[in-house]
Symmetry: C2
Subunit: 551 residues, 2 copies
């Protein structure tokens, strides 16, 4: 039998639109000879629907949409994800489910067993797990259906096994001929390798072909990277769907006719493609039109603008130059070159007058002492107000924030200033990665001006200011960030990673105490195993618990 | 034996400070003849420590602090909460635990069985549940120790039972003489009644005295209300600790000598006390000093200022009047009267010049058409920048946002404008409740000027603007809000609650589409069963799934 991997991009809550996408993919799969099409997890209602899953009406609407969809299935059978009401009287009211639809009927329904509840996942908040799942007997075959996390029982990236059972192997033991997994597995750098190893092992151990259909597309902070996979009974990779774009693979599960393995971009290419898809889908799914980006002449805003142009096209991106008394001539020129290279409109709105008026409003006493962070914040916020003003006047206009993960980690950014935006595409990219993105975007051409890349980073909020005067070098910041946030090392190991105890402790203090800024930061796009935002939940009001050298 | 309920206010992460508080309460309990002191859940590390619970160093530091604490226990035994490393090889690495400490030793450790994972609770994200808990044999007694949610097995406020087991009754069946529960149960209006009914039933059914020690104090968005309880073996309430303030009750579990039932404030008094404690603890635990509040002359900012004065004292509260061309004389006067009544400093910073400079910076084209929301946002943001500027110049200064829940629900507020702030005390209070708070705060005196209460609400962002011109009356807004957010009714029932289909659907659209603003809102203080913020997780990029009359 030919199996289709229908890697589609759904929108959360859009039961009608998602149903239409399912039917279109199913028709194409049938046309290409598939007998069965596997779709991603939660195909009907999108993933993650979060607290929509708690609304009793949402599960009812899912079930209704599923019935309507079943009635329209012709040709290939469809294995689609949806949310169903639990029939158990105790526990969570709904389940994360998959239904096999064929020739107008709902043939069978199965539920997810392992509910990821860590990082960006909150499934124990919503779902009642399956207590048992038997293979689905259909067309002379036994289909071993599992959902996403069910395939990750043996993952030990958390440093230990989270689950005592292995639902995929259980399907094989119960006699499944084919292993099918519906997935919504978000991108993070390095995950593709783990995913492949895990699935190859499952197929090999079970001696069954395994078809894994992943979702694709951006949903707020997470982006599904697609790359759906098919393995033969020996655990050999036979087919892979496109990275970070919708795709439909039709593969013969016996002869492997038609199987093709889509190329996988380089690491930095993956990050770039994911950020572009994340921006594109956020705008599309929120109904946003034109992105406004403050162009400082620096590398961060240049990279965001170049990504936005790739996501939205140059006509939907507007650069805004907002020089102050502290902006260098070079910075303004770099912003102009960038806009020219990208083919985008560049508006100029100097903020000197706004800054002076703010000083006036704040009164004589305010500005009397030595200028400090308050003056710098004032400028950043004046820019934020101007930028938001431009976006608010433009139909469905929005702002893209340009801050990177290193700045956000140490709080080197201004709340309501440069942190303004509907989305902050680089907020999970450390400074080092921003440089790599600039090279990747340039790809030999000169899109981002060489000077924006080469010059020392500067916030240009006071005379002659350079980031290196306010912060340790970014190599040290990034080392501290990784040790503190991803690896969660204790201070002595952070100090070794950074190469100095005093600098490490100063950075730890900055990182710990910037939680209040991050709580109000725009949504980001997750590309690492631990991003700021929904997958990281830190108290604001707290005391440092770590044993430091001084305590 | 005399049992102490040691209702203390801990700080998240402050292992050392919390240990000192435990020892002080224990000494006082011993002095008053107690043989055993029960403390709140997670006494050592505070609740909720959130992702700190995931840091392996945090559990180790907890265990170390527990050992150090045990060595210092003299006199009464202490039952304290902490986080321990799981000894099971599979599953989450840590547990939500309680230890009995006595005369220098850790006598026994028990773990939490039921892990709340809904609303503001994420315990399945962090903790491995207890598989079994036996009573602790100690001093000729068997202590039936459970932790918070363990006592809520029979709660059906979610519309169904969440748990199949009942750990408190299981302790009684296993022979416990005394039932002891360590709790961190946040305030929400109406919960006290449910708590009392539940605990009385457990004591009565088990025919055992039950001692319930609740935490007290604010931790970011949630405030524990204390009110610790003691029931006799017939399920009769014998003792209650103070509402919303630290307390130490010492009660004889046989004779009930010394038992006293602290009075419970009225509903609005509870809300007021909780908001005051929430502001006070947020400032204290974040090390914040002076609160800056934009005083518009309206009721919201007046109520926030009055609450802040109760929390921090008049010297740590500064009012800021920021009139524009659209501000009425009356509004400025009302702000002045309020500041005078509260005894706080009032700064004046007219924003007319800033607004004009912003128009200048945005260019001629920007301001050409009919003024719309963009102009209104500009003014709100000019005020935000000025207010933040004042706070940033003041040592440990911070801004309190003044928006209420009704505004936040329908998006009648400006991101980076009036939404600026470290904390938004009224963001869980619908407009109706703000009026009740004003009356409660006035308490017969004239603290909040009568005109601020009596006049029609206005944002004063365009000539003659009144909220009622932009929104339906607040009675309808609040009815829609409650039906949509708390009750989660579908559109037909929302329409009945609001009293009109068209107005209900317009409000539903506004509420659904304002998610992007709420994502960047300051933390609030939870007072209802469903607050915006950490306990409510909604996608931004989504399509409306509800069947509306038009679809």
């Amino acid at each position: 039998m030919k199996v289709a991997l229908a890697q589609i991009d759904t929108t959360v809550g859009d039961l009608r639109g998602n149903s239409e996408k399912i039917l279109a993919a199913l028709a194409e799969a049938s046309r290409r000879g598939a007998g069965l099409a596997v779709f991603p997890e939660q195909t009907l209602g999108g993933y993650p629907a979060l607290d929509l899953w708690e609304e009793s009406g949402f599960a009812r609407a899912n079930e209704k949409a599923l019935s309507a969809l079943a009635q329209k299935t012709r040709g290939a059978a469809a294995l689609v994800g949806f949310v169903s009401r639990s029939k158990v009287r105790v526990g969570k009211p709904v389940r994360n489910s998959a239904a096999l639809l064929h020739e107008g009927r709902i043939v069978a329904v199965r539920h997810k067993t392992l509910l990821p509840t860590y990082d960006v996942f909150d499934e124990a908040r919503y779902f009642e797990p399956a207590s048992e799942n038997r293979p689905i007997a259909w067309g002379g075959l036994k289909l071993g259906v599992t959902i996403c996390e069910d395939a990750w029982a043996e993952d030990s990236s958390a440093g230990r096994r989270l689950y005592a059972s292995d639902p995929v192997s259980a399907q094989a033991e119960a006699g499944a001929d084919l292993l099918l997994n519906l997935s919504a597995s978000p991108f993070l750098l390095g995950k593709a390798g783990a995913r492949k190893r895990l699935l190859a092992r499952l197929a090999k151990r079970a001696r069954r072909p395994l078809f894994y259909c992943n979702a694709v597309g951006g949903n707020d902070e997470i982006v599904f990277d697609g790359g759906s996979l098919a393995y033969d009974a020996k655990g050999r990779l036979r087919a892979r769907a496109a990275f970070a774009s919708p795709d439909l693979l039709v593969v013969d599960a016996k002869t492997w006719e038609g199987a093709s393995v889509a190329p996988e971009p380089s690491s930095i290419g993956q990050v770039g493609d994911i950020l572009i898809l994340g921006i594109k889908d956020f705008a599309a799914k929120c109904g946003l039109q034109t992105a406004f980006i403050g162009l400082s002449g620096g590398i961060d805003s240049a990279v965001v603008a170049a990504l936005a142009v790739r996501a939205l096209g140059p006509r939907r991106v507007v650069g805004v130059s907002m020089p102050s008394a502290f902006s260098s001539r070079g910075s303004v020129d770099d912003a102009r070159s960038l806009a020219k290279n990208l083919g985008i409109e560049l508006l100029s709105a100097p903020i000197t007058g706004v800054y002076d008026a703010l000083l006036q409003a704040l009164g004589e006493k305010w500005g009397k002492g030595t200028p400090d962070l308050a003056e710098q914040n004032l400028q950043a916020r004046a820019r934020g107000v101007v930028l938001m003003g431009l976006a608010n006047k433009s139909p469905r206009g929005f702002v893209l924030a340009t801050g990177n993960k290193s700045e956000l980690a140490v709080g080197y950014c201004t709340l309501y200033g440069d942190m303004c935006g509907a989305l902050a595409p680089l907020a999970d990219a450390p400074k080092r990665l921003v440089y790599e993105l600039a090279d990747w975007l340039n790809d030999g051409r000169e899109l981002i001006p060489p000077d924006s890349i080469a010059k020392a980073p500067s916030a240009e909020l006071k005379p002659g200011q350079k980031d290196r005067d306010d912060l340790p070098p970014y190599d040290q910041v990034d080392a501290a960030l990784d040790a503190w946030m991803r690896a969660r090392h204790e201070p002595p190991r952070v100090a070794r990673a950074v190469g100095g105890r005093a600098v490490a402790e100063a950075l730890l203090d900055r990182m710990d105490s910037s939680e209040f800024k991050r709580r109000q930061a725009p949504p980001s796009i997750k590309i690492s195993s631990k991003a700021f935002g929904v997958g990281r939940r830190m108290p604001i009001a707290k005391a440092g618990w770590r044993a430091r050298s001084g305590s």
